[in-house]
């Protein structure tokens, strides 16, 4: 009994020391960045009017689940971008006929046969429509398939060198694409993917999670020289790299995250391609409900593990990325979980008082809240920071995140591990 007690005590103390070290390091790095605003050194106006800017094909996957009004707003927003050369390809699946009729009227769509290059295998296309209202806009009515299938269809039809996918419901400024393309324009030969954030609105806790993700981009990923994207992102892909990789995997939990890892893996003929994760915010989207959020957490966890399997194949990325991702996504949550479990066990066995047991949980909640506060410090340096009243609310609610989402996050991680274990190797087989 004494041995068990000693093990529990030692593990709690060791875990707390580890978490304290991680927290202090995160706070110091965030304070050193200091929330300083970093304007682009390039003259964005010069780039936006230049004939040397690389054109982009923007793919909008549209399903029956999308809100028609939001979809319309996203398409209109895209056509209002100040980027000098781009096209918009809406890949629509299973839309009710009323929605189709409305779209045809709204965008003056005209059915046109197009002889395109099917470099990637996808579900068949039923009809292609060109907009007579805006020559840059094309709608594709295809048979239903997984999310990756719509992306691959967009890549097949894309005429330009860079391709990105933007979900309906994302709102953005007119210069969003130009900002997102900055890393690719600086080094088009080396950058195979440039990742920007999509900030999640809605509830306070989702905003905190979004802010932490931004902090991670600014203080961690920028220094690693390689990258895995955040949960909500817009990625600009170099089309030739996508084709070389065989397109997005329909088996992947997150096709875009898996592709990022695959492009940096040793399976690519030229593994010098860089995936750049920026701290730029492409746009915003509404938050999701709790059930949807838990689902997306499970998907993210599965996708991260699938991505790690790819990155392990590359000597260049293995140590840095795997080390960080394992520490942030596996070790730290496991340590937190263990401390809570050990404290509960110790309390139940009478080795620790109820008061001290509660203090352990409160400590973990405040630890995460302190990191969230540091993330908000950095978020304040970017355009459109949260207003004062909102900021105070976010800071005050930050400790509740651990209680509100701690159990859900633990479930998501376990479910993600299980899903990843089951589907292990499927993606590798598909591409090989």
């Amino acid at each position: 009994m004494l041995v068990l007690q000693a093990i529990a005590a030692a593990s709690i103390v060791a875990g707390l020391v580890y978490l304290a070290a991680v927290t202090v390091a995160a706070l110091i790095v965030a304070m050193r960045c200091g929330g300083r605003r970093e304007e682009p050194a390039d003259d964005q106006h010069a780039l936006s009017s230049s004939r040397f800017v690389v054109p982009v094909s923007v793919v909008v996957p549209l399903t029956a689940a999308a809100d028609p009004a939001q979809s319309g707003a996203t398409i209109a927003g895209l056509l209002g971008l100040t980027y000098p050369a781009f096209e918009v390809l809406v890949i629509a699946e299973e839309l009710p006929s009323a929605v189709w009729e409305r779209l045809k009227f709204e965008w003056a769509l005209e059915a046109r046969e197009l002889f395109y290059r099917a470099a990637l295998a996808t579900a068949p296309i039923r009809m292609i429509y060109r907009s007579t209202r805006d020559a840059r806009l094309m709608f594709v009515h295809k048979e239903p398939g997984p999310a990756a299938d719509a992306l691959n269809c967009g890549v097949n039809l894309a005429r330009f060198r860079y391709v990105c996918a933007i979900e309906p419901g994302v709102t953005f400024g007119a210069d969003a694409l130009l900002r997102a393309m900055t890393p690719a324009l600086a080094d088009p030969a080396g950058v195979v993917a440039a990742v920007s954030h999509v900030e999640t609105g809605g509830g306070a806790l989702q905003r905190l999670s979004s802010a932490r993700s931004l902090m991670e981009s600014r203080v961690v990923w920028r220094r690693l020289g390689t990258a895995l994207g955040p949960p909500d992102a817009v990625v600009l892909w170099r089309r030739d790299a996508l084709e070389l990789a065989g397109g997005f995997s329909i088996h992947a939990a997150d096709p875009q995250l898996e592709m990022m890892a695959r492009l940096q893996s040793a399976t690519m003929p030229d593994d010098r391609g860089r995936v750049v994760r920026t701290a730029d915010i492409f746009g915003h989207r509404d938050g999701t409900r709790v059930a949807g959020r838990v689902q997306s957490m499970v998907r993210r966890q599965t996708a991260l593990l699938q991505a790690l399997a790819w990155l392990r194949t590359s000597r260049r990325h293995r140590r840095l990325v795997s080390g960080y991702v394992i520490a942030a996504e596996v070790i730290t949550p496991c340590v937190e979980g263990w401390i809570v479990a050990a404290a509960a066990l110790a309390t139940a066995a009478g080795w620790l008082s109820w008061f001290d047991g509660l203090l352990v949980v409160a400590m973990l909640a405040c630890r995460r809240a302190a990191i969230s506060a540091a993330a908000l410090l950095l978020r304040g340096a970017l355009p459109d920071p949260p207003p004062d009243r909102h900021l105070r609310r976010l800071l005050a609610l930050a400790p509740l995140e651990f209680f509100a989402f701690g159990a859900a996050a633990a479930y998501a991680r376990v479910a993600g591990f299980r899903a990843s274990w089951r589907s292990r190797g499927a993606a590798l087989e598909q591409t090989s």
């Binding site: 007690q5 529990a8 005590a9 709690i12 103390v13 707390l16 304290a20 927290t23 706070l27 300083r36 970093e38 304007e39 050194a41 390039d42 003259d43 964005q44 106006h45 010069a46 780039l47 230049s50 004939r51 040397f52 005209e110 059915a111 046109r112 046969e113 002889f115 290059r117 009809m127 324009l185 600086a186 080094d187 088009p188 110790a346 080795w351 620790l352 008082s353 001290d356 203090l359 352990v360 409160a362 400590m363 973990l364 909640a365 405040c366 630890r367 809240a369 302190a370 506060a373 540091a374 908000l376 410090l377 304040g380 920071p385 004062d388 900021l391 800071l395 005050a396 930050a398 400790p399």
Partner: protein
């Protein structure tokens, strides 16, 4: 267990709570300072913008502004002065205030070098303010910035050189193009928007030993379409051993619209490199010469997809007059050629006109029906066609297509 764990837990809990509260307080403090600073600068900018005394001496305006921004830091005022969103008149007054308050030497010192990340952004801002005050000022600071190892500082210097009215700024940019220190596409953007004529210097670079330099020189010369004999130099560059140079040369030649350009572009339609052939096709598309449709049409069956796409676009730009060439291609042995020709037929509106006219008659001409059959058999054009013609004519068109056995024709 109890004493040690209790001690660690209690100390840790206090530490975590203190960290959260302290960090939150700091965030609020910083945010409040940011908001206050933004408000001060916004009101100062608004005051300058609202100033109706358009002819007031600059010194008077600076004096009027000074009390409004008395508490603002130098860095903050410099940022507002260099911000592209600040109205130009307000930016001028803010820059004048910085000079009056802290002296030109301080700005020049800020712009000369940097050590920390914070210094770096101040340096970039100082450079922007200095060159906003005087666009023709001495370029020494920009030369130093251009030579700096930091990519952000060099990028800021490049963009300032692109707007400088000093003719030597353009020379510096052309020199930068020859070195491999900076991204050449970025330098090209600045040369392209520079107010100075650098055609002479770029023409010399067409014979540079570095193919990348020759390529960018050929690309940038596309801006100077009226310079005598330029097309001769570009035509020579179109024979360059480097494919990227040939591509750039034919693209620029396409802008000159001269007979030499047309001859060169037609020659490059047979280039061994696909992207050169595609660039030659785009150049031909700009010449407004239907008589070249035959040469272009042969590339509808090119082994490279992007060349075929460029050929399609080129024929579409040539207009409906190319239909006799397209009709011949509908019987080509190559499926790609047949399909692409049919698509051009569709996109030029020829198919629609043909079918609508024939659908309107009770006795469609055999020759036209035969042509229709050949166009529509190439790709599945009929589904989109019946949808496109609309509800009024649609049934008649469908009837005609059924009569000739073409309804629901799938890809060949």
């Amino acid at each position: 267990m109890v004493p040690l764990v209790e001690m660690v837990v209690r100390a840790g809990a206090v530490g975590a709570v203190v960290a959260w509260i302290a960090m939150s307080a700091y965030v609020l403090f910083v945010q409040r300072r940011r908001t206050a600073a933004r408000m001060v600068m916004a009101s100062a900018v608004a005051a300058v913008a609202d100033d109706t005394r358009g002819d007031a001496p600059p010194a008077d305006r600076v004096a009027q502004l000074a009390p409004l921004i008395a508490d603002a830091s130098r860095e903050l005022i410099m940022q507002a002065a260099a911000d592209p969103h600040t109205p130009p008149r307000a930016a001028d007054v803010l820059a004048a205030h910085v000079v009056q308050q802290w002296g030109l030497e301080t700005l020049e010192r800020d712009a000369a070098s940097h050590r920390t990340a914070r210094d770096k952004w101040r340096r970039i801002t100082a450079l922007r303010v200095l060159f906003a005050i005087d666009r023709s000022r001495d370029l020494g600071l920009l030369v130093r910035a251009l030579d700096d190892r930091d990519a952000d500082v060099a990028a800021a210097a490049l963009s300032l050189l692109g707007t400088s009215t000093d003719p030597s700024a353009a020379d510096l940019l052309v020199d930068a193009l020859r070195t491999r220190r900076h991204q050449r596409s970025r330098i090209a953007v600045e040369i392209d928007r520079s107010p100075h004529d650098v055609a002479g210097r770029l023409r010399v670079l067409l014979t540079d030993s570095d193919p990348q330099v020759r390529r960018w020189a050929a690309t940038l010369l596309g801006r100077y379409t009226t310079i005598p004999n330029l097309e001769r130099d570009l035509a020579e560059a179109a024979d360059d051993p480097d494919a990227a140079v040939r591509k750039a040369a034919v693209e620029s030649l396409g802008r000159t619209q001269t007979p030499v350009a047309a001859v060169t572009a037609i020659r490059l339609l047979n280039d061994p490199i696909p992207f050169v052939r595609a660039a030659a096709l785009r150049a031909v598309a700009g010449f407004d010469r239907e008589d070249l449709a035959g040469e272009v049409a042969t590339l509808l069956g090119d082994r490279d997809w992007w060349v075929r796409l460029a050929a399609k676009e080129c024929l579409e730009r040539m207009g409906p007059g190319v239909w006799p060439v397209l009709v011949r291609l509908l019987e080509d042995h190559d499926r790609f050629v047949r399909n692409n020709a049919a698509e051009v037929f569709q996109n030029l509106g020829l198919l629609d006109n043909l079918i609508i006219m024939e659908a309107a008659t009770d006795d469609p001409a055999d020759k036209k029906i035969d042509l229709l059959r050949r166009v529509a058999a190439a790709v599945r054009l009929t589904d989109s066609l019946t949808e496109r013609v609309g509800a009024k004519i649609g049934p008649r068109v469908r009837e005609l297509l059924t009569t000739i056995g073409l309804q629901h024709v799938r890809a060949a």
